[in-house]
């Protein structure tokens, strides 16, 4: 895998930072190199939150994302703020509750029910980040589903395995359309 810059954005509390950590860690466990960073304001919760990961098969020097090849947005505000500087062949996932931002035009866009899947199919809205992790790995092919599940298990609180793995599976099996 050549340098793949991944950006996940939503609102504080949706777990996009944890999602980026899981993707980076899964990549490292699969023998790749990874960097993970985040940016947030001084407020404790709420507000726009952005987390990023870079995955590569060679050593990574500059650890910041400048032109992402993959972006996921879970809120309208994040869509307006963080869908930008996209690489020409960038892939964008926009949650189905969010309108596709103009910046995403001319790129490969998936309009997917991530928040709905977490809330209604898994039954827990807080698992949206794990649903997203499942979808992203399916699209990017960072590692096998089993390796990903193992990484998720190691990063989530004890006692939440059952519904988080259900969320991961739901993400992995989501109908991507077309």
């Amino acid at each position: 895998m050549e340098r793949m810059e991944i950006r996940l954005a939503g609102t504080g509390g949706q777990g996009v930072i944890l999602a980026s950590i899981i993707l980076a860690e899964a990549a490292v466990n699969a023998g790749r190199y990874a960097c993970q960073t985040q940016s947030y304001g001084p407020e404790a919760r709420g507000g726009a939150c952005k987390a990023e990961a870079i995955i590569s098969d060679s050593k990574i020097s500059y650890p910041e994302v400048s032109d992402p090849g993959f972006v996921l947005v879970l809120t309208q505000k994040a869509a307006e703020k963080y869908v930008r500087n996209l690489k020409d062949d960038a892939i964008v996932i926009v949650d189905s509750r969010v309108e596709i931002p103009a910046e995403a035009e001319n790129h490969k866009v998936y309009h997917l029910p991530i928040l709905d899947t977490a809330e209604y199919k898994v039954g827990k809205a807080v698992t949206a980040n794990i649903v997203a992790v499942g979808v992203i790995n399916r699209i990017l092919g960072i590692c096998s589903f089993e390796e990903l599940a193992e990484t998720v298990r190691n990063r989530i609180p004890k006692g939440t395995e059952e519904f988080n793995l259900k969320a991961l599976k739901a993400g992995n099996e989501m109908d991507l359309g077309g």
Partner: protein
């Protein structure tokens, strides 16, 4: 050799400190250093150590000095505003020659500034933050792996030279998670203890290498510890000759041993025609820029100070006599730039790129400037 894992810079700092033998941490949490306090709070009790959240940064620094006097390897961690508050007691540790490690994970200032944004604005403060002509050692890591190994070295140097050591991180590296491989087979140094019988002890005489041997409190040797100018037994004096001897020994303790202390890294400097100088987080920008320039056929290289102080200046002088174009990049308004100019301005053309808005310099900005030189 352990397996490759994903680790955060602040976590690597805690892991390294614990490996070095740190068994006491006192601090007051502040972004972006908080994960260090959290990590110490979780890990120290497991190894028989103590974690104390103090009422503020001044008290934290005092507690660290007190713990170290009893022979325990001690550390505190903070960021800009807290680093300012620790300065007086850092000077005390320097004067009384108490080994300890002070971590400053730099954020954007001045004052409370941009708490969650990175910066390298405390570089000069790390050297001159406390008053008086004091010695100091400052180390700056530029990756998560290096954070682990340098945290160990920070303790080793503190114990070997009986001095506070500033571990100058920045938010970019502190909050970065990346791939690390950690080798547990590392050298650990502990401060020397006297083999003299118990009783009165001339602690501040200084050995051949000018480093004093301070018996740990409770060991049966007695001497005095003070921030006042003191004689070799540690007792205050106004004697000019004694004052000169003490202050000179303090400074020469680092100066005379700088070959042992100095550390730097070079990247593709052998045939370089343009030299990028960067340290800590900005070195990650520099390294990427060197690769980009090389792909364009421009012979770029990088010199990266690891000990910010003392600076490995003989090597920099050699390089500047051969490589006539130097580009310094820092996430500040040009602090280490002055040090580079002091050493290299006679021999090389020196340009600078800085950043003071909490953002990072882009590798493309560096290549553009380098190409124009």
């Amino acid at each position: 050799m352990s397996k490759r894992i994903l680790m955060q810079g602040n976590e690597a700092c805690v892991r390294g400190a614990l490996k070095a033998g740190m068994r006491f941490f006192a601090g007051y949490p502040i972004t972006p250093s908080t994960e260090i306090a959290e990590g110490c709070a979780v890990e120290l009790p497991k190894v028989g150590g103590k974690f104390v959240q103090m009422e503020d940064e001044i008290a934290s620094m005092a507690a660290v000095i007190g713990a170290s006097v009893t022979g325990v390897k001690a550390m505190t961690a903070t960021s800009g505003p807290g680093f300012s508050l620790k300065q007086e007691n850092i000077g005390y540790a320097s004067m009384a020659e108490i080994p300890c490690v002070i971590v400053d994970v730099q954020r954007s200032g001045p004052s409370t500034g941009l708490p969650t944004s990175s910066s390298q604005g405390d570089v000069m403060q790390s050297r001159w933050g406390t008053h008086g002509d004091h010695p100091i050692i400052v180390l700056s890591p530029s990756s998560v792996s290096e954070t682990y190994y340098l945290a160990i070295r920070a303790f080793n140097l503190a114990e070997k030279y009986m001095t506070p050591v500033i571990f100058l991180m920045d938010e970019m590296i502190g909050h970065l998670r990346e791939t690390v491989e950690i080798d547990d087979n590392v050298e650990i140094i502990c401060r020397k203890q006297p083999d003299a019988p118990e009783g009165k002890f001339e602690a501040y005489k200084g050995e051949e290498n000018l480093v004093p041997v301070l018996p740990v409190f409770g060991s049966g040797h007695y001497y005095n510890i003070t921030g006042l100018t003191h004689n070799t037994w540690g007792f205050p004096t106004n004697n000019r000759a004694v004052a000169n001897e003490l202050n000179s020994r303090l400074l020469n303790k680092i100066e005379n041993n700088r070959r042992d202390i100095e550390a730097w890294d070079e990247y593709l400097t052998d045939d370089a025609e343009i030299l990028i100088i960067a340290y800590g987080g900005s070195a990650r920008v520099g390294e990427d820029a060197v690769d980009m320039l090389r792909r364009k056929g421009i012979k770029a290289g990088m010199y990266r100070p690891i000990t910010i102080w003392p600076m490995a200046e003989d090597r920099l002088r050699e390089l500047s006599q051969r490589i006539k174009k130097i580009l310094v990049i820092e996430h500040n308004n040009g602090q280490y730039l002055h040090e580079v100019e002091r050493v290299a301005a006679d021999d090389a053309e020196i340009e600078f790129i800085g950043r003071i808005n909490g953002a990072f310099i882009l590798p493309e900005e560096v290549t553009e400037k380098a190409e124009a030189m």
